[in-house]
Symmetry: C2
Subunit: 195 residues, 2 copies
């Protein structure tokens, strides 16, 4: 991980402003607390078992969140440029995370620590509104994911993923996509071959 000081904080501020009516002084304070960090392809942004202390915004690149057991690895979600993410349970509880975050490409992130985020949310109502909306969007996304996992077989979920993420498929390996679908890469290869 490499830490920079260049200020592309604007994108993240813009993202926040798009979700709430952020006052000038709140935006200024928020900007002060942001830091920009870079990760090389394959680097871990958060290790499984470490505490997630930040909310991240992706300036460029691609990351996956997921976990591994003895045999396999599973993907919770992919995040690309313009997305904001964290590992919510670890971030909120400040307990070790069951999930890992890894850069799938060289990735530039803007982040804010939980400590500073809490201060801002306490002081500025719109920041809390932003966080509420952020978590709400994640919830709605997970609801449909759960519904789809209940209802559809892996082949249908694969087709849905292709349809809904046309831009991502060239950037994600077969193995990672299989991990997202909850099947083995051999099974996904078979599904793709259309047998």
């Amino acid at each position: 991980m490499e830490m920079e000081r260049y200020k592309s904080n604007r994108d993240f501020i813009g993202f926040v402003s798009g979700l709430c009516a952020l006052e000038k002084d709140a935006a200024a304070l928020l900007s002060q607390q942001l830091e920009t960090v870079s990760f090389k392809k394959g680097e871990a942004i958060l290790e499984q078992g470490s505490i997630c202390r930040y909310v991240y915004y992706i300036n460029s690149g691609l990351v996956k969140t997921g976990f591994e057991n003895k045999e396999r690895t599973f993907i919770m979600r992919f995040f690309a440029e313009g997305a904001t993410f964290t590992v919510l349970d670890s971030y909120l509880s400040q307990n070790p995370s069951a999930y890992k975050i890894e850069a799938l490409e060289n990735t530039v992130l803007t982040r804010i620590s939980r400590t500073e985020m809490d201060k801002l949310c306490f002081r500025f109502h719109p920041m809390e509104t932003f966080f509420r909306k952020l978590v709400s969007m994640a919830s709605v996304n997970m609801m449909s994911r759960i519904g789809e996992m209940l209802e559809e077989k892996a082949a249908a979920r694969y087709e849905n993923f292709l349809r809904e993420n046309p831009g991502l498929i060239q950037r994600i390996s077969l193995g990672d996509l299989a991990g997202y679908l909850g099947i083995t890469q051999v099974s996904l290869s078979r599904i793709r071959s259309g047998i």
Copy 2:
């Protein structure tokens, strides 16, 4: 559905107060906006295709949220006494809900409309904090559900459900539990028989 005026609003207010520092006047205004409604076992609290206009608190009883396609029905989640719930995507978007809510037992609910909730969240920062925490808890819950669905076969998910919801199993039918696990009731019966 039967509408009552008896004020067991206290339980819901207590639930809210447990998650945020609710001021006296906010609590008073909140209490004014609550209404208590009763549903008989089997009644629909929200039809699939209707708009979810409320956040609900369960004073007594048990409900399921879920959806059906042509062949089968699936359960998103069960909620019992002391729980607070809504159909988040429909509640937020005010679009028709893909999910139904149904009473599994005679159930008494305290509810607040989205309109009034928005007013309170706008006016009182702690109410927004409450809502943020409510959605956060739902998110954390769904994260582990997704992780479990990726990682575990139905038999293991069934064992986990028994372990984590010892009080619910006597109150839920085999069919509904199968719908929650995403398998047929015949499959669940087979799993239970230990073949």
